[in-house]
């Protein structure tokens, strides 16, 4: 019998109703679709089975039976075999993909993140490590895919936004290139890991490629408005333990008895926790509005966002406004597709002087913040006995924050236009053209109060203005031929094209001292070009065997004519075992694909300017001149160069297996790889007297990365009321330098790197040496007494020559984690949702540079007092022992990056408001839990040397998603 069924179809991810879901009686054409808030009404027979389906979601079938209200939760199709994946210059059916490619869609993004897009995928992808550079608002991150392939050149992946490869070099006045994108506007992140996938990007692909697409409107979609708001408060998790005022007073007084240099008269009467003085609770809020849909058959999406985030270090703040527009109409029966995208961002940063972080540890806790003497702004300042300012002394960290105003204002526009035209007479052939334009304009001011203690009578800049303009232009054109050949049981896809890219930047800086005398007036303009030809062929036979080949030829203006062009080929083979008869009939196995790939990629992001091969001369500025007679002459200096500089090339071998069980409710992949870099771009000491420098970038050495990755995603429970999905990934990577010099020298120890501070200048703690990983720590082995206390200055005489010399240093571990694990879980129960994601790192080492400076000798040098970490009570070091492995610690960690609890209150809200609306509220804790043996604040430090890092706050966030 006919009955009326009503219900609501919601998204498993956010609990918000899905409009436009088709609800059809199985085996018929009878049906309806859901309205704007996801509800539907339909008259059906009780015996009918309803099929709920929506593109991108897994369909569900439900028998009506006695139910009159059927609410359905649809979840995103985790592994839709008919879906396509984005690869460079086009897309391929996921079936036909042969490379190691991983996509994260917006529904799977980490929740509750704020300003930085990269945070959306932290821990989500095996082999992709994202570590932010500290807790400053809008701070950047270091992204490493499979460990990095270079030594001196960049190890950053290429980032491509909507088909537009970005310039990885920074933008002045902005700490994070990616923060020009509002995370709310991002639809997908696709990471290309192995060379067979990346080689189409040739010379920029050695460190992997991240393809980002932004959200777009869909044809025929009703207009929909979303509003997202977040309110946050960040708190410092913990501060470093330094001696408190009383303990310090006791220590200074006691040591003064036997040490003439310790002057207890310098002690003050106050009791100040300097770290408390520089940190604060930081509030933030964020609002985003998006409107998408189809207007007169023209799909579009516009969005606007505003973020205001304060930093926990006083005075630091970021305000960002973003706007996007995507219009993607089709013409001539979809033969011509146009996509126009404009992304606009404006960011205002207020930077705090990070030097205050270190000075808060060193400033004497017996001094008060203010001394009310009226000089130096009233801030307590160390003086010499003649009353003049002590130029060597620790600056008052509060004054450092308050007496300096460091602002920047950056605008950026990324615009792209793409036209895809299927030829009318040959629809299998498609011509695509893309024009891209990325422009940024930075403006910065740094003003220091005239009465700040560190402002000298002259020569200290008190007012600095800087500007930068950057431009990145792109033209590419390619043809794609896509053809099914049923007679041969084959499919072919061939693409070939040309690309031209121009990167240009111009900057200037002007600075004056307190007398208004100019101390800097610099201008800088530079550019480089990349011209490329590329092609790809994909061949699928019997839907089981797939072959892909790509080749790219890149020409870079950064190399000499003779070395300018590089060819980067790749080849891959995939076998869809699950299509074979022996697996096809096993229901449990829904997907099984073996992938084998090989490819060569290059590197030209040298970090040495745009003309490193060219012998150039540099003119000096007005303060750097030399006098002949009574005239001052500008200096003309020849700069070091290597004319023979050429591409660094990385060859990657990859083998992988994709699998899916139980209709892909459980799916994942395994990859194993080897990456060999040769002609390593490496900065090495030149033979003295042979060049205009002591250290030069050149191609010498080989490096190898070996690793494996494992990822699995499973929907553990999928019922009407309860849905539980878990994800886990693990990766292992180890690199080893296999050659470093042009000739064999068994005594060659390596190239020192990894500068440390707090103990004078020019000290390195790491080394790049043959047979060891990049940036291996190079230290002395500390000797301890029976009580476990380090014996000062006593190290193991490793070469047993009876004395301790630098030859006794040994190669310790390296800072990179050997194993990285990411895990996540999300549970939905009725209107509630709960999720968390976290990471584990195992096997990394960290150098605790923060405590290295703590030593008794440093207590009074030059007429002022220096505080030290409480660690001094343990080591009791008199003098600096910076090369001791005492300061090396295990950086392994377990952390929960965020925990989110959400509640969908549509049901409550809708009757109240009386119109269609979907609403969800959530609360998130970011940086929730860290468990580690490391004694410092945070074991995750890029480069492995922990020194005065801006602490990552623990942030509590409350948010709202509304859709109507």
């Amino acid at each position: 019998q006919e009955k009326v069924v009503t219900g609501l179809v919601t998204d498993a991810n956010d609990g918000i109703g899905i409009p436009g879901v088709s609800v059809v009686v199985k085996g018929t054409t009878i049906g309806t679709s859901t309205d704007i808030d996801g509800s539907y009404t339909l008259s059906v027979d009780a015996n009918a089975t309803l099929i709920y389906s929506f593109v991108g979601y897994r369909p569900q079938e439900i028998l009506v039976g006695s139910q009159s209200q059927i609410n359905v939760i649809l979840s995103i199709e985790t592994e839709n075999l008919s879906e396509v994946v984005i690869v460079g210059y086009g897309q391929v059916r996921k079936d036909d993909a042969t490379g190691s490619v991983f996509t994260v869609k917006s529904d799977d993004f980490n929740q509750g993140t704020t300003s930085s897009p990269q945070d959306l995928i932290v821990g989500k992808i095996a082999g992709v490590q994202i570590v932010n550079d500290g807790g400053a608002p809008g701070s950047g991150s270091t992204i490493r895919i499979r460990g990095g392939s270079s030594m001196s050149a960049s190890n950053d992946p290429l980032i491509v936004i909507d088909g537009m490869p970005l310039d990885n070099r920074g933008i002045d006045g902005m700490s994070n290139v990616l923060s020009s994108l509002n995370p709310n506007d991002i639809e997908t992140f696709t990471v290309l890991k192995d060379a067979s996938a990346t080689a189409i990007y040739g010379s920029r692909a050695s460190n992997g490629v991240i393809l980002i697409t932004t959200k777009k409107g869909k044809a025929g979609q009703k207009i929909q408005v979303t509003y997202d708001a977040k309110f946050s408060i960040g708190k410092i998790k913990e501060t470093l333990d330094v001696l408190n005022a009383d303990d310090y007073r006791t220590l200074v007084t006691a040591r003064a008895v036997n040490n003439s240099s310790v002057n207890p008269d310098l002690l003050g009467a106050a009791s100040t926790d300097w770290q408390d003085e520089i940190y604060r609770d930081a509030t933030g809020h964020e609002h985003n509005v998006g409107i998408s849909g189809s207007y007169k058959n023209v799909p579009f999406r516009v969005s606007a966002g505003y973020t205001d985030q304060k930093g926990i270090l006083r005075t630091s703040e970021m305000q960002r406004t973003t706007g996007t527009l995507n219009v993607n109409p089709s013409f001539f029966d979809e033969y011509l597709k146009i996509n126009i995208g404009v992304k606009y961002m404006q960011i205002e940063n207020q930077f705090a002087d990070k030097g205050a972080i270190g000075n808060a540890l060193r400033m004497d806790p017996t001094q008060s913040v203010f001394n009310n003497t009226g000089i130096y702004g009233g801030y307590t300042t160390w003086l010499m006995s003649d009353g003049s300012r002590n130029v060597n002394a620790t600056r008052n960290p509060v004054a450092q924050l308050q007496q300096k105003d460091d602002n920047s204002d950056v605008s950026r526009v990324i615009a792209d236009f793409q036209a895809d035209y299927k030829l009318h007479f040959l629809p299998d052939l498609k011509a695509s053209m893309k024009l891209g334009y990325d422009y940024s304009d930075s403006d910065g001011d740094v003003n220091t109060d005239m009465d700040a203690s560190w402002v000298r009578a002259s020569s200290t800049g008190v007012k600095r203005d800087y500007t930068q303009e950057k431009k990145n232009e792109l033209v590419d054109f390619y043809l794609t031929y896509d053809k099914d050949l049923p007679s041969l049981d084959s499919k072919i896809n061939v693409m070939g094209g040309y690309e031209w890219q121009h990167f240009w930047s111009k900057s200037s800086a002007f600075e004056v001292d307190r007398n208004n005398d100019q101390i800097e007036d610099s201008k800088n303009e530079t550019e480089n070009y990349l011209v490329s030809f590329f092609g790809r062929a994909n061949y699928t036979f019997k839907n089981k065997y797939i072959l892909t080949g790509t080749v790219r030829q890149d020409g870079s203006s950064r190399f000499h004519e003779d070395n300018r062009w590089g060819v980067f080929p790749s080849a891959a083979f995939a076998w869809r075992m699950s299509e074979e008869s022996f697996l096809k009939n096993i229901d449990v196995v829904s997907n099984a694909k073996v992938r084998l790939g090989y490819g060569i990629t290059g590197q030209q992001e040298l970090g040495q300017g745009d003309y490193p091969y060219m012998g150039t001369y540099r003119l000096s500025d007005s303060r750097t001149r030399y006098q002949f007679g009574d005239q001052f002459y500008t200096l003309l200096r020849p700069d070091g160069y290597d004319e023979g500089l050429q591409w660094e090339k990385t060859t990657t071998y990859n083998a992988g297996l994709d699998f899916g069980f139980f209709n892909n409710k459980v799916n994942g992949s395994i990859d194993i790889y080897k990456r060999k870099t040769k002609d390593l771009l490496n900065t090495i000491p030149v033979p003295a007297g042979t060049n205009f420098t002591d250290l030069l970038l050149t191609n010498v050495g080989d490096l190898e990365n070996n690793g494996f990755e494992f990822a699995i995603n499973a929907i553990a429970i999928d019922t009407k009321d309860l849905f539980w999905e878990v994800g886990f990934n693990l990766s292992y990577n180890k690199n080893e330098i296999t050659r470093l010099t042009n000739y064999d020298d068994p005594n060659y120890r390596g190239v020192e790197t990894g500068g440390i501070s707090g103990v004078g200048v020019g000290n390195n703690i790491q080394i790049n040496a043959v047979g060891h990983s990049l940036n291996t720590f190079y230290v002395y082995e500390q000797v301890y007494n029976s009580l476990g206390k380090p014996i000062e200055g006593l190290y193991v005489d490793r070469n047993k020559d009876g004395q301790i010399t630098t030859a006794d240093k040994y190669y310790a571990e390296d800072p990179a984690q050997d194993y990285n694990i990411g895990f996540s879980s999300s549970i939905k129960y009725k209107d509630f949702d709960f999720g968390f994601n976290g990471r584990v790192g195992l096997g990394g080492q960290i150098y605790n540079n923060v405590i290295v400076g703590g030593r008794y000798q440093e207590m009074t040098v030059n007429e002022y007092l220096t505080n030290m970490p409480t660690e001094i009570n343990k080591s009791k070091f008199e003098t600096a022992q910076q090369y001791s492995d005492y300061f090396l610690e295990d950086a392994s960690f377990f952390r929960i990056d965020n925990i989110t609890l959400g509640y969908n209150f549509t049901k409550i809200l809708k009757p109240l408001l009386g119109f269609d609306i979907n609403a969800r509220a959530f609360a998130t804790v970011q940086n929730a839990i860290v468990i580690t043996d490391y004694s410092g604040l945070d074991p995750e430090v890029n480069g492995g040397i922990d020194n005065d890092v801006y602490p990552r706050p623990r942030t509590f966030l409350f948010g709202l998603n509304v859709k109507f």
């Binding site: 012998g615 003309l636 200096r637 200048v761 020019g762 040098v861």
Partner: protein
């Protein structure tokens, strides 16, 4: 569009050789770099765009490094700072990875390379002959520093191709000695007469000064005495029109560019146009600390680093200025050094000031106007006397005593300090050189010539890293070639022990 790949630098401050070396001005700028290479750390203020990159720009200043290497290993100076392995210099226990030794070495090599480049570019262009000759003199100066400090090193000239990797041969002491001698004797006739070139530029005086010093130390360098030659060149200098500046202190003040009567070759510093945290900025600031009012030095604050040892103080009759050259600052300072890292331990010296002879403060309180007198006449009065005492011919004792007493009279303001023939011993000369020339980058070389730097003939506080001083190994008479260059160039090796 592949033509786009042929780019030229857009920056107006960065040029290619073809676009920049178009006129006399640009060659003069190239020459200015060869001179500025003696004091500045880089191409932008302050020590930005550094010339050498393995150490901080200000530490890489040639003059700063030279001072550290010539003074810190001796009784004349000790530093309170804990910068890396700086302390090893006074301790006399440096090794081939010491970053300061390394910086000195690369600075010398780079200076030679700058000069080689200019010589090569001006080859055959008669209008730039004078520039080329001066660059050869500066190159000889740096080879002399290589000879004196390292005793060996890579040998490169304008014949070598720059910008491609090759391995220079290692030159021995004899080879470097011969090369300097042949270069300087060749160009000595070409250079301008003393005092006739623009202020700051090399003239015959520089060539003579290097030769006189090299001959004086020839026994150390090549085992062959050359005292007669030393006298020959001292006579050329003394006969070159120079005269002693009547007031000793004036030689070290902000207006010492007026002392060309005595100063043969200065390294120029200027408060507004030649700014570096190295060079004279380092020398003035690092020597002020404790209770010393910085304003009396004409600077805006002391860095509390360098002061002197008791052994040096004892070379003077007292610390109160009977000999006016002993510019000790004793208030709040202890004569004895209990703690190296306490500036107040050890007497301070205020020799160099950023104040003019009329009492005016220099143009900038951070960066002094005071030039560094690398070579001045008094040195060659003493060199003359020593070469005579050591048996050189071409000079005589009476003249030598006359020269010494000229210095003594200036020092005492009267004849009370004068000496007679029997006083003129080698030991006296070594001490007198210290009194006259301290902190002017001569002490290490002098102590070696007298066999007193290393080993046990003369110990001073904290020599060998112990409070009373101790014997040290004779290998510390030279610095090692840094391990980084030993690794980069298979032709190089160090003396046994390094």
């Amino acid at each position: 569009c592949t033509d786009d790949l042929n780019t030229e630098p857009l920056d107006e401050d960065i040029r290619t050789a073809e676009t920049v070396l178009t006129d006399a001005d640009s060659y003069k700028q190239l020459l200015a770099k060869c001179y500025a290479g003696l004091i500045l750390g880089g191409q932008t203020a302050v020590d930005g765009e550094p010339d050498i990159s393995s150490i901080d720009g200000s530490f890489s200043s040639y003059l700063r490094l030279l001072w550290n290497h010539q003074e810190l290993p001796t009784d004349e100076a000790i530093c309170a700072w804990n910068d890396g392995n700086l302390r090893d210099l006074h301790d006399q226990d440096w090794d081939s990875s010491n970053e300061f030794v390394k910086a000195m070495y690369y600075r010398i090599a780079l200076q030679i390379t700058y000069c080689n480049n200019l010589i090569k570019l001006t080859d055959g262009q008669s209008e730039y002959k004078a520039f080329s000759d001066e660059a050869r003199a500066l190159r000889a100066l740096s080879y002399y520093h290589m000879l004196d400090m390292f005793g060996r090193g890579p040998f490169v000239t304008e014949e070598d191709e720059i910008g491609s990797f090759f391995f220079p041969e290692m030159a021995t002491q004899q080879q470097i000695f011969d090369y300097i001698e042949s270069e300087l004797t060749t160009i000595e006739t070409e250079l301008a007469e003393p005092g006739t070139n623009e202020y700051g530029r090399a003239d015959k005086g520089l060539a003579w000064a290097i030769l006189a010093k090299m001959y004086l130390n020839a026994e150390v360098y090549i085992g062959v005495p050359k005292y007669t030659e030393a006298i020959t060149y001292c006579n050329k200098i003394i006969g070159g029109g120079y005269s002693l500046e009547p007031v000793y202190a004036n030689l070290f003040l902000a207006d010492n560019h007026l002392r060309t009567n005595e100063i043969i070759f200065p390294i120029i510093s200027d408060g507004n146009s030649t700014q570096s945290w190295g060079g004279m900025t380092f020398l003035l600031h690092s020597t002020v600390g404790g209770d010393m009012p910085a304003s009396e030095s004409g600077i805006d604050g002391g860095w509390g680093g360098n002061r002197t040892t008791e052994s040096f103080v004892n070379l003077f009759p007292d610390a109160t200025g009977t000999d006016k050259r002993g510019m000790f600052y004793t208030e709040g300072q202890n004569l004895e050094i209990e703690d190296i890292f306490n500036f107040r331990d050890g007497y301070a010296l205020r020799k160099f000031k950023n104040v003019t002879s009329t009492g005016a403060v220099g143009s900038n309180l951070s960066f002094p106007d005071t030039d560094f007198p690398l070579y001045r006449l008094a040195d060659f009065y003493l060199t003359y006397a020593e070469a005579v005492v050591r048996g050189g011919t071409g000079g005589d004792m009476a003249t030598a005593i006359g020269y010494i007493n000229e210095l003594k009279e200036r020092a005492y303001g009267d004849t009370s300090g004068n000496i007679i023939a029997s006083d003129l011993t080698l030991d006296f000369l070594l001490d007198e050189r210290a009194r006259e020339l301290y902190w002017e980058c001569h002490r290490r070389t002098d102590l070696i010539r007298f066999g007193k730097l290393t080993d046990g003939n003369y110990n001073w506080p904290w020599k060998g890293a112990v409070a009373d001083g101790k014997n040290t190994d004779v290998r510390y008479n030279v610095f090692p070639i840094p391990s980084s260059d030993i690794n980069a160039n298979p032709n190089l090796s160090n003396i046994t022990g390094y």
